[in-house]
């Protein structure tokens, strides 16, 4: 690989969003260099083999949000990307029963009626309400968030689009939308359902990755954030990327390289270089310097501006706003190599829902209590877990007959309390063992033999996700998804369109609108903004 000293654009970080931005820019004819601190690419969309024979999706583990416009624009299937939908899921009870979720309407109705006839009948109204919200929000993901204080034509145009869309809903539906966006997932579910187990099953998506509880206002939006994706046109459907989530980053990276882009791994950025208020390039940790008039940072907004930029280069109000940005770690993860399929005694033989997402939270109040533990700096005594065994569908993840399990855990605090201190450094081996133990206990509700099945296990606490992926505090979305940090407020008011007070320095990661998840939208939108500054209109569906 031959490296130049100067490029048109440098992208700092090879997360899937950095790579997406880079690929669009390379396709527009820009000479682009991506520098990544790790020896691998993908950021939180990564597959790694930590035990011979098994592959883990170490961080993110299921796919739905990835914009199909981006998949098409970047020709990702050509580079091997294949997303296999999974169907259904289940929540196991402590007394040996379960509630199973099926995508088949009749099967779901029958199963719901087994727990509550009333809820079975209410489900359709619930699903329609969520679906209407998904349809409403989807067009905004690949658009800029207008600055409500600005009178620039583009802002007014985007504002007009928003008003038109809102107006098109009609007053009643607009009211429903405002309500949905601001209420808690707990209240929303309580309005529709009576059965604790059903509510607990449906609530999970409202709290994944966030420092809020099921009864915190705004969590209905978080649920939406997890439902607004699609697979093959099935809105709200989720699937596995064949070969793990890293396959997504690998495909985007391959498209980028096929269009002349260069990726430099093991190349951590020490500093964004500036001169007279303009970015001029990056200096790496190893002392190398690359120059470019445009630099896009895939790091979160705090890391970008508080760690790698001289404070003197930024207006103090901007720095204060970035300091205020909330980016709390609340999630942990276990990745497990299994010698064979664990047993789920409550499930019928060959139950299809075992190929979906499995949980053990019994009620909304159990979930809310898990949040209270987190607030106090403790790992939840009964955390919410989202566990899947992708190797049932994707055999590339484990040796024949063996399996791989991915277990997402909500909540685990970044600043773990120990004695009178609360800090990320309290995450020592003992604390991680304790976390794993507590999660395995939860899992045993569904699969009591889980401990005997373990061949290898990776335990990821928020502090470690921060260290490895660079996600500040281990926050999976590069910043809380609360309404004061969404849309025109993301990442900070006045800077919701990817640029920054330093000319030529852009954000292209999940800290920017529309936020986290393996979605690609912030990356594509940032590329569009960069090209637009040159007077060029980006090509493709995402333009």
């Amino acid at each position: 690989m031959s490296l130049n000293a100067t490029y048109d654009v440098i992208v700092a970080g090879a997360g899937h969003n950095g790579l997406t931005a880079a690929a669009y820019l390379a396709r527009a004819g820009r000479k682009v260099l991506v520098v990544e601190k790790n020896d691998w690419i993908g950021g939180a969309a990564v597959s790694r083999s930590l035990h011979p024979g098994w592959t883990y999706s170490n961080c993110s583990y299921v796919c739905s949000l990835l914009r199909r416009e981006i998949v098409r624009d970047l020709d990702l299937p050509k580079y091997g990307l294949q997303v296999i939908p999974y169907e259904g899921g289940a929540t196991f009870t402590r007394d040996g029963d379960y509630f199973a979720y099926y995508s088949d309407h009749h099967a779901l109705h029958r199963e719901m009626a087994r727990h509550s006839r009333r809820d079975a009948d209410a489900y359709q109204r619930y699903a329609q309400a969520v679906m209407r919200q998904c349809r409403f929000i989807r067009p905004f993901l690949l658009r800029d968030a207008p600055d409500p204080a600005s009178l620039r034509p583009r802002d007014l145009g985007e504002m007009a689009y928003l008003v038109k869309k809102a107006h098109g809903l009609g007053p009643r539906e607009l009211g429903e939308t405002l309500r949905f966006w601001t209420m808690s997932i707990g209240d929303f579910l309580d309005e529709h359902f009576e059965n604790d187990l059903i509510k607990a099953h449906l609530a999970g998506s409202g709290i994944i990755g966030t420092g809020l509880g099921v009864y915190s206002p705004g969590t209905a939006y978080v649920l939406l954030h997890h439902y607004m994706g699609d697979i093959d046109g099935g809105i709200g459907a989720w699937g596995f990327a064949r070969g793990g989530m890293g396959a997504i980053s690998a495909a985007i990276g391959a498209d980028f390289e096929a269009h002349g882009g260069t990726i430099l791994k093991g190349a951590g950025v020490e500093k964004f270089l500036t001169k007279d208020g303009r970015v001029t390039g990056v200096a790496l940790e190893d002392g190398k310097v690359f120059k470019a008039p445009v630099v896009a940072s895939n790091m979160d907004v705090k890391r970008t501006f508080l760690t790698h930029v001289d404070a003197g280069d930024l207006p103090p109000e901007f720095t204060r706003a970035v300091e205020r940005f909330k980016i709390r770690g609340s999630s942990a993860k276990l990745n497990i190599a299994l010698d064979r399929m664990p047993s789920f005694p409550a499930a019928p033989a060959h139950a299809s829902f075992l190929r979906g997402d499995l949980h053990v939270s019994q009620s909304l109040s159990e979930l809310e209590r898990a949040y209270d533990d987190w607030k106090a700096g403790r790992v939840s005594a009964k955390p919410y877990i989202d566990m899947l065994i992708p190797s049932q569908i994707d055999p590339t993840m484990a040796p024949t007959g063996a399996h791989m399990m991915t277990v997402f855990v909500q909540y685990a605090p970044y600043d773990l309390a120990q004695g009178s201190t609360r800090s990320g450094v309290n995450w020592d081996d003992a604390a991680r063992r304790q976390l794993a133990d507590c999660v395995l206990d939860q899992m045993s509700v569904a699969c009591p033999d889980i401990r005997e099945r373990i061949v290898h296990m990776e335990v990821r606490c928020p502090a470690e996700i921060e260290r490895e992926v660079g996600l500040t505090e281990g926050n999976i979305f590069q910043g809380e998804l609360t309404f004061d940090q969404l849309f025109f407020n993301r990442p900070v008011p006045g800077w919701s369109q990817y640029d920054s007070p330093i000319k030529g320095l852009y954000l292209c990661g999940s800290s920017a609108h529309p936020g986290g998840g393996v979605m690609g939208a912030p990356g594509a939108n940032a590329a569009r903004a960069i090209l637009r500054a040159d007077g060029v209109r980006m090509k493709g569906y995402a333009a």
Binding site: P148, A149, R172, R179, T182, M183, E368, T482
Partner: protein, 505 residues
């Protein structure tokens, strides 16, 4: 049968205001109250001691003007300083933008406090503009639309006049949670505790809940001053009552409306529990929305509307505890006679106090606001608002549970006022379930319905019901469950009355 132009159900703050305003505009009005006295929630008394509401934050000058009360209220309002009580004796005395320690030394976050007060008061003034008008939309007449358009334009203009950065910050802060807003500016302690306690007072929310900055600003819309009405809340109620009487409004207490009468899709009057029929083309009800719908007959509301009313969240979290004291307590360096005391030693404490209420338990270490309504008395009452005491307490609010709440409150205050327990000679308690039962507002919620974004503006009390008109033609809601919400403020009643007049014009 007696004929009126308008009947107002419920003589709480909002019913009193609505009735007086209609009467002043020449309508023949009858105000009907189930209880023996006017005052509603604000005037309820657990026993011998002070009424539930003990302080005034935002009593609306627009109401005073519209009731023709002149430049000043006919009662004295004494502005109070606030003492944020500290367990280590380092109490913080807050007087508007000024915060200092009780020993007279500077508070380390005095500057941050002053800046926050200034900013939030300014933001509050913007919201007040919106509180003084009906929410947008709702099929009003041309003139009303124009007037309302002007008001919102004025809000928009004041926003723009702030300058871009401030306008942007406003749109962010408004949506934030109080815990983060405050702790971004100061480290945690009694001053932060006070701010966050003020943000959640009356709410079934903790300071970490998104939207709590809104409820903080809501109360600061009138300058952020906390005042004690001299003569107690009774003086405020009497003044509103008098304004109505002067305008010729008939007040009938001890009379419960049993049914709201209709003919087809029109309201025709009310029937009282005693069987009397009072007729009127216009009926305004300050009873809770679902209660009002039931009085009318649910068949006047479509399934959708009924479902919304059932889903209205109104879980009260504040209990009243009155402590009779042998003498006034003392704190060195603080004039407790003209102070509001708040026990909320940190923002963390307030959030932690909130936790048990989510599971139907009372806080073992609650947030308390304490005032002496009549500090001159030889053995004064200490009037406490104790939060969180959830309406739906597990096991119910038995006499024993109420006793325990009084003990917890005393014990908690003693953490900062060690001599208090020795001074208490008796206690009376009123819990949200009782408040609900007494006012017909399920849950006994401070604002009749939780004041969160999903129950605000056009969504208050429910989507499609945000313009006071309710069910059959001629029926209006006018209580705190409508826009803009509760407190001893009177704007819901005023806006509703104006809307009813507008429709008849």
């Amino acid at each position: 049968m007696t004929r009126f132009d308008a009947i107002v159900i419920g003589a709480g703050v909002n019913g009193l205001v609505a009735a007086a305003l209609l009467a002043r505009r020449g309508k023949k009005v009858c105000l009907i109250e189930a209880a023996r006295h006017a005052g509603g929630m604000a005037g309820l008394r657990p026993g011998e001691g002070p009424a539930l509401a003990h302080l005034v934050h935002n009593l609306s000058p627009a109401v005073r003007r519209d009731l023709g009360l002149g430049r000043d209220w006919p009662f004295a309002l004494t502005p109070l300083a606030t003492v944020a009580l500290a367990e280590d004796g380092r109490h913080v005395v807050v007087d508007g933008p000024n915060a200092k320690l009780a020993d007279g030394t500077a508070h380390p976050f005095a500057a941050a406090h002053a800046a926050l007060t200034e900013r939030l008061t300014r933001y509050g003034a913007l919201l007040r503009n919106m509180a003084e008008t009906a929410p947008p939309g709702g099929g009003m007449s041309g003139i009303a639309m124009m007037r309302q358009g002007l008001r919102f334009a004025r809000t928009g203009l004041s926003l723009r006049a702030m300058g871009k950065p401030e306008m942007r910050r406003f749109l962010q802060v408004l949506l934030s949670n109080a815990y983060d807003l405050i702790l971004d500016e100061m480290s945690d302690g009694p001053l932060a505790g006070l701010w966050t306690a003020d943000a959640v007072r009356g709410a079934a929310l903790g300071p970490r809940s998104p939207g709590t900055v809104f409820s903080l600003i809501y109360r600061m819309g009138h300058g952020g001053i906390v005042s004690r009405p001299e003569g107690g809340m009774e003086a405020v109620i009497a003044a509103l009552e008098e304004a109505g009487r002067k305008a010729g409004c008939t007040l009938r207490t001890d009379t419960r409306v049993a049914r709201i009468l209709t003919e087809g899709d029109r309201v025709t009057g009310v029937a009282t529990e005693a069987g009397e029929i009072l007729s009127a083309q216009v009926v305004l009800s300050s009873a809770a929305p679902l209660t009002t719908a039931r009085l009318t007959g649910l068949d006047h509301f479509d399934i959708e509307a009924t479902r919304r009313l059932r889903n209205l969240r109104a879980r009260g979290t504040v209990a009243k505890v009155n402590l009779k004291l042998a003498r006034a307590p003392a704190l060195p360096g603080v004039d407790l006679a003209s102070a509001r005391m708040v026990f909320a030693p940190s923002a963390e404490y307030v959030e932690t106090a909130f936790n048990p209420s989510k599971y139907g338990e009372m806080s073992e270490a609650p947030v308390i606001e304490a005032v002496m309504p009549d500090p001159g008395a030889a053995s004064p009452w200490l009037s406490l608002l104790v939060q969180y005491a959830p309406a739906d307490l597990d096991g119910g609010w038995t006499a024993a549970a109420r006793d325990r709440l009084a003990q917890i409150a005393t014990r908690t205050l003693a953490r900062a006022l060690p001599d208090l327990p020795g001074l208490v000679t008796s206690a009376e308690v009123m819990t949200p379930d009782q408040i609900g039962a007494a006012t017909g507002g399920p849950g006994g919620h401070w604002h009749q319905a939780e004041l969160t974004f999903d129950q605000m503006l056009t969504l208050r009390p429910g989507n499609g019901m945000g313009h006071y008109a309710f069910g059959p033609s001629g029926l209006y809601l006018c209580g705190a469950a409508t826009h803009p919400g509760g407190d001893v403020m009177g704007l819901s009643g005023r806006n509703a009355a104006l809307r009813a007049l507008e429709d008849r014009a």
